[in-house]
Symmetry: C2
Subunit: 219 residues, 2 copies
Amino acid sequence: MPKETFYNLSEEKRNRFVQIALEEFAYRDFQAASITQIVKKLGIAKGSVYQYFDDKLDLWLYLKKYSEEIKISYITSLKREDYPNFWEYYRAMYLHGINFDLEHPLCSLLLYRIGFKESSEQVKPYLHTWKEEAKIFFRQWIEAEKKLGTFEEGIATDIIVHFLLTMSLSITELLQDRYHIDFEKNISEGKPLFGKNKEELIKAVNDLIFLMERALKIN
Amino acid sequence: MPKETFYNLSEEKRNRFVQIALEEFAYRDFQAASITQIVKKLGIAKGSVYQYFDDKLDLWLYLKKYSEEIKISYITSLKREDYPNFWEYYRAMYLHGINFDLEHPLCSLLLYRIGFKESSEQVKPYLHTWKEEAKIFFRQWIEAEKKLGTFEEGIATDIIVHFLLTMSLSITELLQDRYHIDFEKNISEGKPLFGKNKEELIKAVNDLIFLMERALKIN
DNA sequence: TAAAAAAATGACTACATAGTCATTTTTAAC
DNA sequence: GTTAAAAATGACTATGTAGTCATTTTTTTA
C-alpha cells in the first residue's frame, strides 16, 4: 500500500509518477524494471520513491491494482439482458473491452505481462490471481448460458472457458500478424494503436468470434 | 557459436553443462538468468564458461539452437500420406510433438519462454524467429490442405494458421487448469510430467481438436 | 621424462541495482 | 515573520552481475 505522502501529492504529480512507473513496468520484467530509471525519467530523487512506497514490490502491487480497477470498470458496464443472444453480447463485450486497451495501453500491457510473461521470483505469489478470477467469472457465466441452450451439449464447461479465454486473448497476436502492428512500439512512440481506422480491429474480432461460434454453438 | 574448447569437452561434462545451463535459462528471463549461479551449481570456475562461449548471449543462442534442433527432429518424423485425413494427421502430430515436451522438458520450457515470455532487450532480435518459421510452415501446409477440401471455404488462411497455432499451444494451460499439474515444479523436482497415465493428456488433446475440427471443417 | 599445448581457475574490474537516512528545502500553521 | 510539520534530496551501503586475465593445473606430444 502506498504511504500517505503519495496520496498527498498533487494529482498532476501523482499522475505523472504513475505514468512513468507504468511505462517502466509495462515494458520490463519486475526484476528488470528499475526504480533508478524511473527516478531518472521523472527527474526526482530516489529517496522520494521510498517516501511514497515501502519498496519496489509495493509500487508494483499498486500499479497492478490501479490497472485492474480501470479494466474492471470497462468490463462491468455492459448488461446481458440488453442483448438477444450470447454471441451478440460476447462480441459487444469484446469490442468494449478493447477500448480499455486503446485508452489505457500501458495498463493493458502491464496486465498482459503479469498474466502471461512475468516470471520473477519476487512476484510469483501475485501472478495468477486475475486469471483465476476471470476463469471463475467465465465459468459461472457459461453455466448459466448452457441452460439457455447456447452451446452444443456434451462440451464440458472447463473447455469452453479455456477456449473462449484463449481465443479472446489471442487477438493482439492476430492483429500483429495480419497488419504488422507493433503495439509496444506504437505505445512507446505515443502513436495511436490503430492507424486510421478501427475497422481492421473489428474485422479481426468478427473473424475470431465466427470461429468460436462455429466451434461451440448447437448445429 | 561455442568455442572449440566446448566441443573438446567430454560428452559427460558437456551434457552436464548444457543441462544445468538449460535449467537456469528455462526458469528465468535472459536478463535474470545468472552465469554466476550456473557455475556455482556446476562447481566450476566462472572463467571456464568464457573458455567455452564468447558471452552470455552466445550461450543462450547455443541453448536455443540446441533445443530447436531436438524439437524439429520430433516434428518432421510423421508423414502426411500415412494418414487418411488432415485431422487424423494433426492429432498424431500433436501427440507426437508432446513427446518432445515429455522427454525434453527443459528444452520445451526454454522454447516456450523464448516464444511467449521473454522480453529482455538483449535478445529481442532473436525472439520471433521460430514462431515466424512455424507460421510459414503452417501456411504452406494449410494452403495445400485447402485444395483437398479440408476446411470450410471462406475462412482465410491466416486465421486458420492463427487459430490452429493458438489452440495447439494452449494445451499446457488446459492441463494445468484441469488436472492442476504444475509443470515447472514437476520438472524442477525431477517428477514425471504426468502422474500415472497419459490418458488425461490424450483426452485433453482430443477435446481441443474436437473444437478445432468443429470450427474449421466443412459442414 | 621433459616440453608444449590446452584447459581450469578465481581474484579482480566495472557497473548496475534496491534501499537507507541524515540533511536540506518546501509548505502550512499561527 | 516564526515555528513546526511535511516532503524532497542524493550520497551512501550492501549486494548482485558479466566479463577479464595472469596464473596454475592438467593433458598431450615427442
